[in-house]
C-alpha cells in the first residue's frame, strides 16, 4: 500500500525538480553528509600516503613517491607472519569460544524460570561490558602482578609451585586474552541469542511435549534449529572483521610490553606503534591500507555467502 503510493508520488514529480518538501529533506541531510565527507571520505584520499615516503615537512603532495616499497617491505618482513597469525588466530579463538559461551549462557538464562533471578544474573554478568579496557588492565594487574598478584600468591602458598612472571611469559597470553575478551563480551553477545530464544513460539514446544518429546529432543529439533541461522549470520559477520583487532584489548592488557609481542602484537597495535612511536607514516599507512582492503573483500565475500546460506544479509 505504502510503497505503491510512494511510487505514484515519485512518478508525479519525476520530470520536475525536487519538490519543496524534498529540498527541506535534503537540507536536513546537509550537515551530516558534510561531516561524513570530511571525516570518512577525505582520509580515504589520504591513502596515497601508503605509496609515499611521507614527511611532515613536505606534506602529502610534496612527499616523494615510492611505489609499492612500503608494502613490499612490510610483506617480506618477519613482522608480517606474526601479525597475521596473531590477529587472525586470536580473533578466530575469540569467535569460536565467544559464540559457544554466549549460546550456552543464553540457554541457561532461557531455562531460568524466575524473572527476578534472570534480571539479577544478567545485570551482574553485563557489568564488565561497562568498563574500559584501562580499568580491566588494572584488574588483570591485580591478578598477575609478579610479586603481589593473586595468582602468584595462590600458586606459591596453596599449590606450592613456582610462581610465574606473567608479564614476561608470552605463551600464556593467548589464554589470558581469550578469557578477558569472553568475560567482557559474553553477556552482551548472549542477549541476541536470548532474544531469539524468547521469540520461539511456546505452543510449538508445548505440542512437542504433549507428543512425548523429552528435553533433549526439544532442544535437538526445536530450539537449536532456531538458533542455527542466528549463529551462522553472526559468525559470518565476525569472520568479515577477522583482520581487525580490538585495539584496547591488545594494547591495554599486555601493557605494550615488548617481550609479549610474539603473542600479543596485532595489526592494529602495530599500525599504532609504527605511526606514533616509530613515526613511519608511509609504512604504517600501507599496513592500514592492506587491512582495510582485505577487510573490505572479506566483508563483501562473507555477506555474499550469508545471502546464499541463510537469506539474511547486511545489504
Amino acid at each position: 500500500m505504502k510503497l505503491a503510493k510512494d511510487a505514484k508520488d515519485l512518478r508525479m514529480h519525476k520530470r520536475r525538480g525536487p519538490t519543496k518538501r524534498e529540498w527541506s529533506l535534503y537540507a536536513m541531510c546537509a550537515v551530516p553528509v558534510l561531516l561524513v565527507l570530511v571525516f570518512n571520505y577525505l582520509p580515504m584520499y589520504g591513502l596515497i600516503i601508503a605509496f609515499k615516503n611521507y614527511k611532515y615537512s613536505l606534506g602529502i603532495f610534496g612527499s616523494e613517491w615510492v611505489g609499492f616499497r612500503n608494502f613490499e617491505f612490510f610483506v617480506t618482513s618477519s613482522d608480517f607472519i606474526r601479525l597475521v597469525r596473531n590477529t587472525v588466530g586470536l580473533n578466530a579463538i575469540f569467535i569460536v569460544f565467544g559464540i559457544v559461551c554466549a549460546v550456552i549462557l543464553s540457554i541457561m538464562l532461557y531455562e531460568l524460570k524466575s524473572r527476578l533471578a534472570t534480571k539479577i544474573f544478567q545485570t551482574t554478568l553485563l557489568t564488565p561490558h561497562f568498563l574500559s579496557w584501562v580499568i580491566v588492565s588494572y584488574m588483570l594487574y591485580g591478578f598477575l602482578h609478579p610479586q603481589y598478584g593473586i595468582l602468584n600468591g595462590f600458586m606459591e602458598n596453596t599449590l606450592h609451585i613456582q610462581p610465574l612472571d606473567w608479564y614476561a611469559t608470552p605463551s600464556v597470553w593467548p589464554f589470558i586474552l581469550t578469557i578477558a575478551s569472553i568475560w567482557k563480551h559474553v553477556a552482551m553477545d548472549s542477549i541476541l541469542y536470548y532474544a531469539a530464544l524468547m521469540g520461539i513460539d511456546s505452543s510449538l514446544i508445548e505440542a512437542a511435549r504433549i507428543d512425548g518429546a523429552g528435553k533433549f529432543k526439544i532442544y535437538r529439533y526445536i530450539i537449536l534449529p532456531e538458533l542455527v541461522s542466528l549463529i551462522t549470520i553472526l559468525t559470518i559477520m565476525k569472520i568479515g572483521n577477522i583482520f581487525r583487532a580490538d585495539f584496547g584489548l591488545f594494547y591495554q592488557l599486555p601493557r605494550d610490553i615488548g617481550i609479549l609481542y610474539p603473542t600479543t602484537d596485532v595489526i592494529d597495535t602495530y599500525i599504532f606503534r609504527t605511526m606514533r612511536v616509530i613515526g613511519d607514516m608511509g609504512m604504517s599507512s600501507a599496513v592500514g591500507f592492506l587491512q582495510s582492503l582485505v577487510g573490505f573483500v572479506l566483508v563483501v565475500a562473507t555477506n555474499y555467502v550469508s545471502k546464499k546460506v541463510s537469506d539474511t544479509s547486511l545489504f
Binding site: M44, L131, I150, L192, A195, Q252
Partner: protein
C-alpha cells in the same frame, strides 16, 4: 514436569551464582586492595579481603584532587556534548532516509554504508586531523570527528520506518513542515532507540582513552581513562626509581599499590554505579535495531 524441574532450577541457580561470583571477583579485588594497608600488601600481596581496613590511599588521592577533578570535568563535558550533538545530527539524517519518500535516498544510504566497509584508516585520519584541521590538543577532537556513525543512522532509520505512515500523512495535511514533523512527531515517538543510542554513545565517550593517547599532549585535556592509564605507568616509574635508590624520600611515602587501585575505583566507580540501572535499555535496544534490520 514441575516437580522434576525444581532440582534443575536449583542447580541452575547454583551455576549462575558461581558464575557471577567469578565475574565480580576482579571488582572485589580492586575494591579490597584500595582499602588495604600498603604494608600488608608489601608483606602478603593483594587479597580479596583487606587484612586491615585503611583509607590512606583515598586520603592521598583527595588531598590533591585537582588533576582528577579536571579530568572529570573534561570527560563529562565532551561526553555530554558529543552525545547530544551526535544524536541530533544522526536522527536528523535518518529522518529523510525513512518512510521512503526522498529521491536519491538509496544513493545517500550507500554513501553512508560504504564507510562501514572501507576506511582510510588510522594514519590518513591522524594526518588530516593534526596537519590540516589542527584539532589535536583541543577539546573538539573528542567531539567532532566521531559525530556521525552510519550504523546508528541505520538503527534510527529502521525505527522511524516502523512508525505508522499515517502520522506523516496527517501531519502533512495539517501543514507541518518536514523539520517540524521530525522534531514533534518522529523524535518523541522514537524514545526507545534514542535512549539506547544515547547510552551507548555516552558510554563509549566516557570510556575513551584512545583519543587522548593519539591526539592530546596537554595534560589539562586528558580524558579520565587516559589519566588512569598514565598513572598506572607513572607510579611504576616512581617505584623503579625507589628501588634503584634514586628517588629516596617521596616515592617511599606514596602508598603506590593501594593508590593505584583506589584511582581505578575513583574513575570507574560512578559509572559502575550508574550504568547497571540502564541495563534494561541496553537489552531492549540491542534487539530494537537487529530484529527488523
Amino acid at each position: 514436569m514441575k516437580k522434576k524441574s525444581l532440582l534443575g532450577q536449583t542447580l541452575l541457580m547454583l551455576a549462575f551464582t558461581v558464575l557471577c561470583v567469578l565475574f565480580i571477583m576482579p571488582f572485589v579485588l580492586l575494591v579490597s586492595v584500595s582499602f588495604s594497608k600498603e604494608a600488608d600488601i608489601a608483606m602478603n600481596g593483594y587479597k580479596f579481603w583487606p587484612e586491615n581496613f585503611d583509607l590512606s590511599a583515598y586520603s592521598y588521592i583527595f588531598k590533591n584532587p585537582t588533576t582528577i577533578l579536571n579530568a572529570y570535568k573534561v570527560t563529562a563535558f565532551y561526553s555530554i556534548a558529543a552525545t547530544v550533538l551526535s544524536l541530533f545530527l544522526q536522527s536528523l539524517m535518518a529522518y529523510p532516509l525513512s518512510w521512503g519518500r526522498m529521491r536519491g535516498r538509496n544513493f545517500i544510504s550507500f554513501f553512508l554504508y560504504f564507510t562501514m566497509l572501507f576506511s582510510g584508516g588510522m594514519v590518513p585520519t591522524y594526518i588530516l586531523l593534526t596537519q590540516y584541521m589542527h584539532l589535536d590538543n583541543t577539546i573538539w577532537i573528542y567531539i567532532i570527528p566521531g559525530l556521525i556513525s552510519p550504523w546508528n543512522i541505520f538503527m534510527i532509520r529502521t525505527f522511524f520506518n516502523s512508525l505508522p505512515y499515517e502520522i506523516y500523512e496527517s501531519s502533512v495535511i495539517d501543514g507541518a513542515s518536514e523539520f517540524r514533523i521530525y522534531l514533534q512527531m518522529a523524535m518523541p515517538l522514537s524514545k526507545p532507540v534514542l535512549a539506547t543510542l544515547a547510552l551507548m554513545t555516552f558510554l563509549g565517550k566516557w570510556n575513551d582513552w584512545n583519543t587522548s593517547l593519539m591526539y592530546i599532549d596537554n595534560s589539562e585535556l586528558f580524558s579520565l581513562q587516559y589519566l588512569l592509564q598514565k598513572i598506572l605507568k607513572d607510579i611504576t616509574l616512581l617505584q623503579q626509581m625507589e628501588e634503584s635508590g634514586l628517588g629516596m624520600i617521596n616515592a617511599a611515602q606514596i602508598p603506590s599499590e593501594t593508590v593505584r587501585m583506589a584511582m581505578a575505583i575513583v574513575v570507574a566507580g560512578p559509572a559502575l554505579v550508574i550504568f547497571p540501572f540502564f541495563q534494561k535499555y541496553f537489552v531492549k535496544g540491542m534487539t530494537v535495531g537487529s530484529v527488523k534490520g
